[in-house]
């Protein structure tokens, strides 16, 4: 049984608070003692089914005599009365604690549909049961969310101090040693500029220098895993599903190495690759090449899934949407195209910039896309509706973009890395943080689950501390930075078992769970065709034969009219009512306007 506070209780208590003039706005009980401030304050609950509770709450503040009668009633009611403790005190917080509304919203999955009509009682019962189960799950998730151990980082400046003026050294000094050690520079001036990639857990870093230097390391413990020079140009580097494998796009072919740096595969089908993206749940490595080909490699079985000729020239701007595994490609004519392996044509073509597109990034929830172009603009799009939200002008233009798990945007302009906060909300005027790298920046990447931004530049690599960038609480079964070798092996087996097939990639990943009406209609049509009649057709109403002249043709027609269009009546009534309402409102508005126009203002008397 779950008891919740009803809105009426709240009203009552608010009134009490106002009369006694306490500072507390919404105490939970009407007692004068000041209760401690609780985290759920200001949440609203639905008190539909807890009318009883409210009465009890009212009774709480009655005189002792009334209390006696109430307890008697409670005794009669059985289980509904509140529990009595031996001391005689009643529980000031009866029932289970309410769950904050915004937490509940976070775990909401879709809207509730309408219940099927009563005659379909079995289906109705199934729907009711499943909705109750999902409600419970949502509530329990929200409760669990309150107990997560870590809080996100933050950086606040003093009065009239911009956070973007705070240097990395200051931050490293201010925080504890382990966090401070996350700001470091690797001086690798010989083989730069560097591209980089963090593994999915955020423990491992992969660096690829333009002139052939490839190295992978456990960046927190600064342990080198492998280091080599491939003696060829390196265009891009990417971790595959775990830290045991990584892919390197070299001058001609695509190579796959293991964590010791041993070359496992040279994939000759993938030539002149410039950019790579790895789709972790599909085990797909998507590559964009200088010849204009977008290719997908299934790394679990080593097969090429799709090779699409984009006919858009050199492809050196690429991002993937983590929400639906769609690849975004930026082109030199200012368009961004969206691709799946299932279609030879782009799903969407967006004209984003007047010049060429320099960089694209998509946020974790798949809602926003940030692009930067040769026209020195930085634009934010809502990619659910393909609508521009914000447009910023950056004096130098951004060459590399990266979005963090908590929505920070890093943009590299020349040798300066700027980090912006909340670029899709209110227009941002100042960066959140800024840092000047030693060389021109070649790649930026936020480290998952850490407040760290990796910057690869001409003179090596810089690991920046960006407070508030990373998701503070990881999920141990999905990406666990602290996993042991055994755990990694088990995770790998499970992940491979639930590898999503490339055919399931589409704009809406939840489409599989929706009802397929069109197929049903088609099948029904086929069935009608095969049977020669519609098995689901409603029988036509034939009035019963009545005696004593009550079945004259006129009366029969009358009876038929009574049931005609019975199913549509409610809809028609509703629409008519709505229309009348709108008409009425319009008329009233007109009247008001007319009255306002007719009214004389106070200044009219001075007019001649």
């Amino acid at each position: 049984m779950t008891y919740r506070f009803s809105p009426e209780v709240k009203k009552y208590t608010i009134k009490m608070a106002a009369s006694s003039e306490t500072t507390l706005k919404k105490p939970h009980v009407g007692k004068k003692r000041k209760p401690p401030k609780r985290y759920w304050e200001g949440t609203e609950e639905d008190g539909k089914n807890d009318g009883k509770k409210q009465k009890e709450g009212d009774n709480n503040k009655q005189t002792p005599q009334q209390k006696k009668t109430r307890t008697k009633e409670g005794g009669k009611r059985g289980g509904t009365g509140e529990k009595k403790v031996i001391s005689g005190k009643s529980d000031p917080f009866p029932g289970s604690a309410p769950v904050p509304e915004e937490k509940l919203r976070k775990f909401k999955r879709g809207d509730k549909g309408e219940l099927p009509p009563r005659p379909q009682y079995k289906l109705r019962a199934v729907v009711v049961r499943s909705e109750a189960a999902s409600d419970l799950a949502q509530k329990q998730n929200a409760r669990y969310d309150l107990m997560l151990p870590e809080d996100a980082g933050f950086l606040e400046g003093d009065e009239d101090e911009d956070t973007c003026t705070i240097s990395q050294d200051d931050i490293a000094d201010a925080v504890d040693i382990t966090a401070g050690a996350k700001y470091f520079n690797l001086t690798l001036s010989q083989f730069g500029p560097y591209r980089l990639d963090y593994s999915k857990t955020g423990r491992h870093l992969l660096l690829g220098g333009r002139r052939g230097h490839v190295t992978s390391l456990d960046w927190q413990s600064k342990q080198l895993m492998c280091e080599m020079n491939v003696m060829e140009t390196v265009n891009d580097v990417k971790w595959l599903h775990s830290e045991a494998l990584f892919a390197v796009a070299q001058k001609k072919w695509l190579y796959i190495y293991d964590n010791k740096g041993i070359e496992l595969h040279c994939i000759r089908k993938f030539n002149d690759v410039l950019r790579m993206q790895f789709l972790p749940y599909h085990f797909l490595l998507a590559t964009a090449s200088a010849t204009g080909f977008l290719q997908y490699l299934d790394v679990s079985v080593g097969k090429e899934v799709a090779a699409i000729c984009t006919k858009a020239g050199r492809l050196d701007v690429m991002a993937h949407n983590p929400h639906n595994a769609i690849i975004h490609l930026g082109h030199s004519n200012g368009t961004v195209t969206l691709w799946t392996p299932n279609q030879r044509e782009p799903l969407v073509k967006m004209l984003c910039h007047q010049g060429g597109v320099r960089s694209v990034a998509v946020d974790k929830t798949g809602t926003y896309m940030v692009t930067s172009g040769m026209d020195k603009k930085l634009k934010v799009y809502d990619i659910r509706s393909y609508r521009p939200l914000q447009s910023y002008f950056l004096p130098a233009g951004a060459s590399c973009l990266s979005l963090s798990q908590r929505g920070l945007l890093s943009a590299a302009t020349g040798d300066i890395v700027q980090v912006y906060r909340d670029v899709w909300g209110t227009p941002v005027t100042k960066p959140y943080m800024a840092h000047r790298a030693k060389g021109s920046v070649w790649g930026v990447h936020f480290c998952p689950f850490e407040d760290v931004l990796g910057v690869g530049h001409g003179e090596g690599f810089t690991s920046m501390v960006v407070p508030g960038a990373g998701e503070p609480n990881f999920d141990g079964l999905d990406a666990n930075p602290y996993r042991s070798a055994k755990q990694r092996q088990e995770w790998e087996v499970k992940a491979l078992l639930e590898k999503i097939q490339p055919e399931l990639i589409g704009l809406d990943p939840s489409q599989l769970s929706q009802v397929d009406h069109s197929t049903w209609e088609q099948r029904h049509e086929d069935r009608v065709q095969a049977l020669g009649f519609d098995p689901l057709a409603k029988e036509k109403f034939t009035p019963r034969l009545k005696t004593k002249g009550r079945s004259s043709s006129g009366k029969v027609e009358k009876r038929k009219k009574q049931v005609a269009h019975e199913d549509q009546r409610d809809v028609i009534r509703q629409t008519v009512e709505d229309r009348m309402k709108i008409d009425k409102e319009r008329k009233e508005k007109k009247k008001k306007e007319a009255a306002a126009a007719g009214q004389k203002s106070a200044l009219d008397r001075f007019r001649k």
Binding site: E150, I166, N473, D475, G476, K499, S510, A530, L531
Partner: protein
């Protein structure tokens, strides 16, 4: 300047000693778990495939009879005991856990036609071709004692079936007429006949214990009330029904196995058309038994297969067959809802799992959770074409496969002809007769 940077203490996230289990911190935020639906779908697909991999329903064959097994009876109190009677009059009592015969006795001359264990489980009744009803003790006679019936009643004609009342000392037999007997008397206390020359099966209703239903050779199913002198009503169908079984949970429903390859589930109150027609067999259906949950039933057919039907589905969810199993004559669903026993012509009783992919024996809690989870997933995605195709796929013997194909072609041809006739005749002159209405001739009260 106020600053806080994420800095986790690894001690909070890794286990302290090797003896501990690993720590797995969870975060259920949906944005950390993308592709929820496609991943669940993939899991459901894997679960469905694994179900097909692990579906090995055949458990054991109990051999020992020297002629075809004609009937079986469940013990109401002991799950491990089953009785079987064969065509040479021999009766065997089996222990299912040991899978061996514990007792053999020569019950009748000629067929053992019917058998029923008394509700208390201390004795059982048999009827045979020698026109007798015999009552036997369930206990094995001691050393030196002879196998003798407690009681023998000599009837006038051959009895074909017997059933016992749920809680009183009354039983019912059928043959040329339906007789109700008191255990203490040697002549029936009541006899019913309704212009029929023979009955093949009679069953007490498990809930409304005074009600009876019987299958008669004039293609009818007759309902009786034990307290009344005359039968209640009957429904006459196109073909003869062999046996019937009441649904133990919704006891106003019963299912009969018909000679026209179908099974029909009727609501006792509305006999004018069956509630569901269960098709899939390709030969006459000989026996039917409900699961104790009343959600499913199993049918035995002359086409050498067993099929399991959900009670409200027109088609079977499962078909069992082996190379050696001949015409299946009798079938029982065990009282713990886990096993199915089939008795067939070639002298064997076979033990099957009711749920082919189920793992037998004790399950660890995590195993149980995994089974429940995958079951839920399968339910959720059951209508997806890929999953439905895999879960429905069964291998059938060639003869049955080709026969069912032939039947399908015949049915389609008939339907096509009807459609064409309807198309070219006056509208309304060819009324649509549904599959349910087709098989019922009339209801007599």
């Amino acid at each position: 300047m106020k600053v806080k940077v994420l800095s986790r203490n690894p001690d909070d996230y890794v286990r302290e000693t090797k003896l501990d289990i690993q720590r797995v911190p969870r975060n259920y935020d949906p944005s950390l778990h993308p592709f929820e639906v496609p991943r669940e779908y993939t899991r459901a697909l894997n679960a469905t495939k694994l179900e097909r991999v692990f579906s090995k329903p055949f458990l054991a064959s109990l051999d020992g009879h020297r002629d075809g097994v004609n009937c079986m009876a469940k013990h109401p109190k002991s799950l491990s005991t089953i009785l079987s009677g064969s065509c040479d009059g021999e009766l065997k009592v089996w222990n299912l856990t040991k899978r061996e015969c514990v007792r053999t006795l020569q019950a009748h001359e000629g067929f053992v036609r019917g058998m029923v264990v008394r509700f208390c489980g201390t004795s059982f009744f048999t009827v045979g071709d020698d026109k007798t009803i015999k009552q036997w003790k369930m206990e094995t006679p001691g050393y030196g004692e002879e196998e003798e019936p407690l009681n023998t009643i000599l009837g006038k004609s051959v009895f074909t079936s017997i059933d016992h009342h749920q809680k009183e000392g009354v039983f019912v037999t059928c043959g040329q007429q339906v007789d109700i007997w008191d255990e203490q008397r040697s002549s029936p206390i009541r006899s019913f006949s309704w212009g029929v020359d023979s009955f093949s099966c009679v069953r007490f209703n498990p809930v409304e214990t005074e009600l009876l239903a019987s299958c008669a050779s004039d293609r009818s199913i007759v309902l009786y009330d034990m307290r009344e002198a005359t039968p209640l009503k009957k429904v006459i169908m196109n073909m003869r029904s062999n046996t019937l079984c009441w649904n133990p949970m919704e006891a106003y429903n019963f299912t009969c196995s018909n000679e026209d390859y179908n099974l029909y589930t009727y609501d006792m109150r509305y006999l004018d058309k069956p509630f569901t027609v269960h098709m899939d067999h390709v030969s006459a259906v000989l026996d039917v038994d409900y699961s104790p949950t009343g959600k499913e039933f199993v049918s035995a057919s002359f086409d050498k297969t067993i099929r399991i039907f959900p009670k409200d589905s027109g088609h079977s969810r499962e078909v069992y067959h082996t190379k050696r199993m001949q015409h299946v004559i009798s079938i029982k669903w065990s009282s713990d809802n886990k096993y199915i026993l089939s008795a067939s012509d070639e002298m064997n009783i076979r033990l099957w799992k009711a749920n082919a992919a189920e793992k037998l024996g004790l399950l660890a809690p995590r195993e149980k959770a995994a089974v429940n989870y995958s079951q839920k997933l399968k339910d959720k995605f059951q209508h997806h074409p890929q999953i439905r195709r895999i879960s429905r796929h069964r291998h059938l013997p060639k003869s049955i496969y080709s026969q069912s194909k032939e039947l399908r072609v015949m049915k389609e041809a008939r339907r096509r002809k009807e459609r064409n006739v309807r198309k070219h005749s006056k509208p309304g002159s060819m009324p649509v007769v549904t599959e349910k209405e087709k098989h019922v001739v009339t209801v007599v009260k």
